[in-house]
Subunit: 416 residues, 4 copies
């Protein structure tokens, strides 16, 4: 191949072939990745030896998970636990893998995990479950828009059946129409088994749209298969209100002695930080996310387990709520649009699958869907631990005298 390679590199350099065509030209994705690396190394005078050092097999991943591959990036993974979870799907003590490069984050979550487990664990509940996709259809006028929505309602069984052809484990379960003038969004909601389900929802929605366009008697056009009312990879109140993926709550009643002895503060102090920072601070900032650093925990679990990193955006929309009680601190986190899966996408990759296996949720569940729900509950409980610890760290400073507060030189817990 060395002669061929030189020729290829020369053509790349001259711009006669593009980086995207190497798999076709060379016929092997791992060799194509090598060729790309060599091209970049020579052209740019750099070394890519670390990126090259990967266990990934691009013959398997090419097109499914990556194109134009050159290797892999490695992100350190830490683990916290045991975290006791009293959920409907997750019951018991769990270890949770976290991929991050932010120093102190794992240590910080770990402290929250201990406080929760010492207090009897986190209770979790799934409030709703379903992945959404909202095609945008353009009609001529609002009266046509109203007719279209009525027609879809009338032909719902047909459309649900059509959607069903696109998926084995999922199903179209519901839709929410939204009309603005002559525009109509059809926000369709799918059960998706153990998959996060965005691909499935897209493909099924494509079938539904095609069927509507074929059979609807009026003049309409599909402007976009995704009309931003879905809402994917953008923070949106529609997701927070109507749910997307798993709508899950985790809560704990952290014992007063645990708050005082372990977290060095009081339930009352933590509560004041929560209402002034997480509620009023986010309100003042114009943020739809009322929490301290939920995105930190979501990101770390998502990276470790092969979730879609762009969905950290809406999966981290969350409400943190506290109540000081005589027994201690009631604290809950509510995540209305946690988009997770244990099959498909990045969960298939070797390191990510191992990370899922640490929580006992790798692959499909029995019954179908139960692994994803169990995983969602563990994620929520870990988020709870992260919130508890950061609020406590801030509150401990809050109670301390000014000098002590700030003399520690470093805030305990993740940045927020």
């Amino acid at each position: 191949m060395s002669k061929d390679l030189d020729e290829i590199l020369e053509k790349l350099e001259k711009g006669e072939i593009s980086l995207s065509r190497l798999e076709k030209i060379i016929g092997n994705a791992n060799l194509a990745a090598l060729a790309r690396r060599i091209f970049l190394e020579r052209k740019l005078g750099i070394s890519l030896s670390s990126i090259a050092s990967t266990i990934l097999d691009f013959e398997v991943l090419y097109g499914r998970n990556i194109e134009n591959p050159i290797g892999a990036v490695q992100i350190p993974v830490g683990v916290v636990g045991p975290l006791r979870v009293n959920g409907e799907y997750a019951r018991g003590d769990f270890y949770v893998p976290l991929a991050t490069t932010e120093g102190a984050l794992v240590a910080s979550i770990s402290r929250g995990v201990k406080a929760i487990t010492l207090s009897g664990g986190a209770t979790t509940r799934i409030i709703a479950d379903g992945m959404t996709r909202a095609p945008l259809i353009r009609t001529e006028s609002v009266s046509e828009a109203v007719k279209l929505v009525a027609w879809i309602r009338e032909h719902w069984d047909m459309l649900r059946e059509e959607a069903g052809k696109a998926t084995r484990h999922g199903a179209l379960v519901d839709f929410y129409p939204y009309i603005v003038g002559n525009l109509v969004w059809i926000r369709m909601k799918y059960s998706t088994g153990d998959a996060m389900g965005m691909n499935m929802a897209t493909i099924a929605s494509d079938r539904v749209c095609r069927r509507i366009l074929e059979e609807y008697p009026g003049r309409i056009e599909c402007v976009a298969l995704s009309g931003n009312m879905c809402s994917d990879k953008k923070p949106a109140i529609v997701n927070r209100l109507l749910g997307r993926g798993k709508y899950v709550v985790a809560e704990a009643l952290v014992k007063r002695e645990v708050v005082e002895e372990r977290l060095k503060t009081t339930p009352e102090a933590i509560h004041y930080v929560n209402i002034s920072k997480n509620l009023m601070g986010s309100a003042a900032a114009g943020s739809p996310s009322y929490n301290a650093h939920v995105a930190n925990i979501i990101a770390a679990i998502f990276l470790a387990t092969g979730q879609d990193a762009a969905q950290i955006v809406e999966s981290s929309l969350a409400f943190t709520w506290t109540e000081p009680r005589s027994e201690g601190l009631y604290i809950s986190v509510t995540l209305p649009s946690l988009e997770v899966g244990t099959v498909g996408g990045g969960t298939r990759l070797p390191t990510q699958r191992e990370a899922l296996s640490i929580m006992g949720v790798a692959g499909g569940g029995d019954p179908v869907g139960s692994n994803a729900l169990k995983f969602a509950e563990i994620v929520a409980a870990t988020v709870l631990a992260g919130e508890l610890n950061l609020l406590a760290a801030l509150a401990a400073g809050h109670l301390a005298s000014a000098h002590e507060l700030l003399g520690r030189g470093k805030i305990r817990g993740g940045q927020s």
Copy 2:
């Protein structure tokens, strides 16, 4: 060590020692990681051999980037380019590394990159630059709150000097106070050189708060060093309005023939998708982010280059704007709170550093800060490519007859 290890594993099993203490007990972070892996493998009956296969040296990373390490997760990296950028800091043709597990994403961005480069490239501008941290201070009353803000203004030079002690490359440049009743947020803005700067801003703000608490004559207390008006790792309009990190714009005038021949659609069709989906769709959804899938591109670059993954949340807040013109399609993306750095945090890790080197932005710039700004411009130009392609893919469907539109079976480009 095998005998010791058995003893340690036994104690871990019995809960006599916690996972967090292994580094201290064993004295070597790589061995501690090994011990944790073995403990988990035995306890859970799983294999962590892939996570173990890493080039990372935890003796270097422990405490700086990770705690309780067990290994690393590997995420495939693809590359797109050449992408022509006509910026103030980034000038020339660039290759951009993207880490993702979402199939078709790299291919999709690549198509947009080609269209932009064929049209002469993307123009980029930095509108503003500065990292923020907003401590929340509680006073007794609004009259005290007003006095405090006045006092801070009077003593600004002193406080700026105090902040300066915490950093070599950065500086406290400005502040925006916000009063709600007796609560005061001091949103301080820092220049941060080539670092993303959140750590620096936190440590410097800590000094500033301490100094205020020491010297201010009235009764006040620091409720939280971060009061959510910063706003870190939450989507917030305060960031979109006042900027956070780099406020950067990328634009291109994509030639009409490129739109028609390469992207198989028209400027007018793309424009209609943009205003109905990205503007009205996001408006209807209650989203502060008016774009198609900016988070996809942000996430892929952030993961490849060791940025803080939780900051994908606010870094992806973006406006996509289009205008059909006689020459072709004007398209711009505006990113008011892009938080990136080329030194510190995850950028120090070997694979991430290599990824930065592909764009010529690894490490500190000369002058200080220029690498981070150059990087921000490249990120914005790549985001532009991603938006262009997805809008075009949707529009191509839009123009096609219904059957053709949906017969392709698969939307071209990343999910949104």
Copy 3:
């Protein structure tokens, strides 16, 4: 009474009796109003003779519409029309009363009305109808919250029947529960006949809450009969997404020659103003209301017809959408939470009732509810006229050369 009056005034002055007690002491509401006026006039050295000049009879209004009355404020009323409306309830040509003190507003709306009527009129559609009230119930934990919602679902018929006891013309039709940790909002939706219905919904929700508290087996408490998820008198995306009051759309296809000859601009120019100002401008401002000055028209009709002025807030949440077409300009306004009624509240007052009669919608409709729906359609059509005119006025400037644009010295149409 003069002797008594002096005595009363003296006691008022000394603070021995409060202004609120005069009706009881004097026994006549009109005399009480007189006493209050005299008290204020003497104490403050002012004249209230204009406020005194009213046709209102406080014997009728006291407690129903006002307390502590001193007279009335007079707001000028203008009228526009004929406005052609092609609705489901409003069909024909209408005159619309507008109460305002903003010069040029009525003239501006009038110009829009003419353009629409010349183009064949406005088409209107009611998308949804229902008034909401959302009590906030506190439970002990999320598992209790989930149980409560399930219990409500199970006992829905009973609760609906309970609500029915509070109202003759309305009914509880649906509910949307929302859970955040241990908190539960029950957003109940009522049909309300021709009334705006807030009072009825509150009283009925009170009964429902009482019944829940009586019969639910677990420990719960009603924190607030209105939990802000209703959402009354605050702008809220929940109203925009799920609707409140009347969800109504008005649209018109304004003929190209009308745009050019009457409005002195083009469909294309108006469209550009709409997408850059109403969509992108509101997006940039962080506003959930994407229009030019809908509140102006809503306010003017609300004041004229005795609607609740505080509900201008959410009734003016609106999307203005345009499309330039070969025939002319397609323009629509979508009002998802227009809260109007033709019976009850301020509609009973003499001037307000006359204003409603101008549109043929005074009092209850036949069938019940049809007057309120007809009124909602007329309001939406008038809003459309207001939006059309202001956008056109701005666009006319936009097209003119700079000197001409601004030489007119004054923007045509209402402020926005």
Copy 4:
């Protein structure tokens, strides 16, 4: 005139003349109003005798405050007080006029007023003051947008001087530029004396835009004199963050015995309602306004005093914040965009001017602007009273047993 009138009515009926032309044809605005009334009465078979019963003189108001007049609407006015205000501009005991048709509202505010005055009164502070107008300018590209902003900065003195030509009492004090791609908003901030100032700001901004268009060397166009970043008559976070009109805070420390004996509840119970309803409830609803019913009080004062009713929308954006303290309840309301004036607009009308005189703020202040600021402080203090009372009424229910809570049959205080 009777013969002429018949002729005019006939032509109106035939559509030969429009309702807008009557002033010109008849030559007297009061007669024109009469003609319009007769036309409507005959055409529609209705009576407009109440609307006719007005003290308004349309010869004075025509064009300044109304067009196409037919008479006036009368809204009942109640009064509350004495309300003790400890402000910077308002100092002493005040009576406050409220125009409303919502039964119980005045009584409810009155109860709050008493509780506050008994506790020593409300403290108020003006945090900022300035009316804004944000023209939207379109450039060719982001590099042109950046140049334009730089040019405006360089020529600021010239532009400020230009603005000054439009106003005697106001001045252009500052601007905030905002760039999205090739679009630029120039959010200009004006001092406006005792006027609310929207007209002045518009006219001055028009001059500024004209001057920019004349002198700026590049190709730009003014898309809209109002680009929605102002943001007028829409709720917008830009106003909440940067302020618009008066940014004012009112607070009180309500004595524990007053809370218990007068309001029949406790500081702790009121606080719980505030954080769960006003903070978390609004958060859940997706509302930028964190309060119970601020719009009720704003609307009632605005109607009574001739403020712009459409500005109730953003003037009611408010944060209500509480803290239970040992002495009682700390409560504050923060109104960042209260748009009020004591001269101009509707304040000139006879009844409205009298209403202003009740508070001692009719007409211009000495020094200029002091009346408007005094008025703003009184408004904020009254809003505080309204919030206090409604929260207390809800909390009293909250504490009572279920039967007692709801047996009262009616919630005390205004709807929210």
